[in-house]
Amino acid sequence: MIEIEEGGIASTVQDLGRTGHYHIGMPPSGAMDRYAHTVANYLVGNDADAATVEMTYQGITATFRDDAVIAVTGADMSPSLNGEPIDTWATVAVDAGDELELAFATEGARAYLAVAGGIDVAEVMDSRSTYTLVGIGGHEGRGLEEGDRLSIGDAPAERRELVGTRIDNEDVPDYADEDTVRIVLGLMSHRLTDEAKETLCDSEWTVSPEADRVGYRLEGPDLEFEEREQPFGAGTDPSNVVDLGYPLGSIQVPQKPIVLMQDAVTGGGYATVGTVISADRGLLAQRQTHKTVTFESVDVDEAIDARRDQNARLEEIRADIEGEE
């Protein structure tokens, strides 16, 4: 059991997400940085879908009531155990009574705490992910607070043998440098003027303070839409279209671009002019407020290759860790 002493500012239980319910308007939720979440799980011998604690900008302080095997990945929040700094992207032993403390994020925005056995909250619609907007999943459907107690799933004693494992430096993202995010233009990039399409891909976009698990609002130049007579069923704003399902990671432009993230609305009447590719969504999720991103346009084949490469890299990491056991 883990007892939360300080919840940070937005710490939630997340797994790979509540997939399969998008058609009823249920977004997947799940870890914003799938790569960091998955590596944390692999380091403690879990499957990728085990639930971790996702912490945003500021970490939790918590006391473990049982012995545990943990890993902290993602944003650097200077984790310490009983006041002694511990390695990140590494497997660490925790004894009952130990206090884990994470500070604020110096690089990146989100850190992940994995525990061997996974965070054991009840599944809601086949997922342990927290969806705070409607208050379901995770721990009571909300962010963690002082006094919360999280159960840990059962894990075999051999998981202790993973302690001391650290993934290769080349597999640790340097979030400060990851300022390019690849997108596929469309579904409705034809609504933008040619100039606006160029502006979308040539400009530096600044992550606004509102950016959260729902959407990343970006500040930058204006994007102009092609003039037209709005069709029946579309709103009057030039960015309005007849309602459609929004791809996860899609960019809509009500005024300034908003990239839809894990907790976003699943459909509506704004033109989605591009989609952040799945392999890069985690990098965007690690850009702090006020940091900039640039979009690089790729085609669908390149996007699928990037996803395949990321999965292959994660599989190699998993195999290497298993080899250490």
Partner: protein, 80 residues
């Protein structure tokens, strides 16, 4: 006793000196604060977070303007 300390923001966001645009600031230069007193707010992810003094002292200077962007670990207020 003129040892100076600073209060830092533990998160990036927008700094506000008052709880509401129509309300007076939480503290002004020259005021004394106790540990735990709120000296301002930082807005991030559509929420406002209290920034509290971690020790007591006299506010000598605000190091950032009202409604300015702040980074995590940026000094906001100087105490002496």
């Amino acid at each position: 006793m003129t040892e100076k300390t600073t209060i830092k923001s533990p998160m990036p966001g927008i700094f506000y000196r008052q709880p509401d645009p129509d309300d007076p600031p939480f503290v002004e230069p020259g005021d004394t604060v106790e540990a735990g007193d709120t000296i301002g707010l930082v807005e991030v992810m559509k929420n406002f977070h209290d920034i509290e003094a971690d020790s007591s002292g006299t506010v000598s200077e605000f190091l950032v303007e009202n409604e300015a962007e702040v980074e995590a670990d940026q000094a906001i207020v100087e105490l002496e």
